[in-house]
Symmetry: C2
Subunit: 315 residues, 2 copies
């Protein structure tokens, strides 16, 4: 009999491996596989490009559980062709990303990043600092899923008014107004803080281009914790240079790591973080909440209980 | 007849001067006074040390409305001797200070200050960043007045557990537990984030000294938005050097501006802000809310309706 392998690109604590064994006693959990085992991988936690060709060559792979919320880097067409199930890790990063965004909103609004730059020059700014009241800001959240909803909840306690944008414009709890994505340019001038949390799809690739930045309020802050390729970096830099917006906080980039010669590094109106918004100390626990639920339903009836990706939509 | 003067150390918008005239038509509002007018000042908005001697020499001064919440820099003993009323501006800065503190808590917990330091070196940190979940932190708020309560409200939405310390240890809404100030050292080890918001009094001067820092959790963050002289800076630096706490964010200092040769500037485990936590764009509106209420009651019966300071307690 062929071995059935659950392959994972990363290790998990013993307590979770024990739980996998209880649910799926016939499967072997492996973070390393010999070359002759690649064809025996039936479930993959994360995706290893080096193994891709051999794994696809066999017909054993049935389910991929992505470790991240975004699945745009995965071979979705091949998964669709081969009827491989795909689930993502959406939900795990909700608190972390919302806290990251609120940290940027508060830090910018209270002049903390400006203060830290002054500190490095031993400069006492006194009141020569940019500050603004949160209650005067309007927050446009582009993407009203789990993260967007949590962010609206966090922001509301500070009196921030939250407007949402999603594909269809359907109303979402916690948002005063919601609009469809195709009205983005028309809605942007209303906002002083603009947060992109959209996944990367054909519709969102290059979405933030010169024309979109032209529609920004010149005092506005742009925060991208969605996907790097949703923003045309060169257009963003031009827009900042022309004063079409005031500040950008970027956690994701068209290319990562950000190239050392990128002009973004030196801009005082840019805060760069290294794709860390989703980092959470409770990753394993939260991830296994999703994976073990899906493993149970997969074993029972080859279906996924939560977070299944529609391979045609890409999210 | 002698003129009656309301002197102010700073100007206010015409709309507010109009309102003062309506309430107190017999008084002249002046931001500048000739030397022979100093004896005619009956009400002072803010305090001008240069005028102090001459103002005290006459018996016309009846009421000082402080522009800040802290009144420790004012001649409280002379006010008491001469039965001069004193009111402060407590309440105005509530949102600003709470937003400042939350900006620090979130910025530190999401690694944003570390990220900005890395950016200036064009360094892509990847996941080599310190981050922590807010829901795992315990926030000790020392001072449970207006600001402390607002902070507890802001913090709770992120799942932070809030413990309070006040003079008597009386319970306060929004705090899970409250303790009296004399139990500070015993309570400190429970906290991972410690915020000082206390006014400066005989009891709080030099409160944060070597022995108090010894009681901190070594992972803890200390945030001072209260008063500079409540902290013995040299003891804080030693404590940071010995790893008795992890990070300090200081908005107030024993001497301001902070001296250029202070070792605090260069510490990576210190964030310096230049006494800006209370800066608010709505200062005039909020301040006049307090002052005009008091002016009304002062005109009617020589009493202050809100924010009167007990000159024996000093707050």
């Amino acid at each position: 009999m062929t071995k059935k392998i659950i392959y994972s690109v990363r290790p998990f604590r013993e307590e979770f491996i024990e739980k996998m064994k209880e649910i799926a006693p016939d499967y072997s959990f492996q973070t390393e596989v010999a070359s002759d085992e690649l064809s025996e991988i039936e479930v993959s936690i994360g995706w290893n490009r080096e193994y891709q060709e051999e794994v696809f060559a066999s017909d054993h792979l049935k389910w991929v559980q992505s470790i991240s919320a975004g699945v745009d880097n995965l071979p979705l067409n091949e998964f669709a062709d081969k009827e491989i199930l795909l689930s993502n890790a959406s939900g795990i990063h909700v608190e972390s990303i919302s806290e990251h965004v609120m940290g940027i909103i508060l830090g910018y609004s209270r002049g903390l990043f400006q203060a830290q730059r002054a500190q490095l020059k031993k400069e006492w700014l006194g009141s020569a600092i940019h500050y603004q009241a949160l209650e005067d800001q309007k927050l446009l959240i582009i993407g009203t899923g789990h993260i967007g909803k949590k962010l609206a909840q966090h922001a509301s306690v500070f009196g921030l008014e939250c407007i949402g944008i999603n594909t269809s414009g359907h109303p979402v709890e916690g948002f005063k107004e919601t609009y469809p994505l195709d009205r983005l340019k028309e809605i942007l001038p209303k906002a002083t803080i603009v947060v992109n949390i959209l996944p990367l799809t054909d519709q969102t690739k290059g979405l933030f281009d010169a024309k979109v930045f032209e529609a920004f309020d010149e005092e506005a802050v742009f925060i991208n914790v969605g996907r790097g390729p949703s923003v045309k970096t060169a257009d963003l830099i031009t827009a900042l240079e022309h004063g079409e917006l005031a500040f950008a906080a970027l956690d994701v980039f068209e290319e990562e790591p950000l190239a050392e010669d990128s002009p973004l590094w030196e801009r005082e109106d840019v805060l760069i973080t290294s794709h860390i918004a989703g980092q959470t100390p409770h990753f394993q626990t939260k991830f296994m909440d999703i994976f073990l639920k899906n493993l149970q339903s997969y074993i029972e009836n080859k279906e996924l209980e939560v977070n299944e990706i529609d391979l045609n939509e890409g999210y």
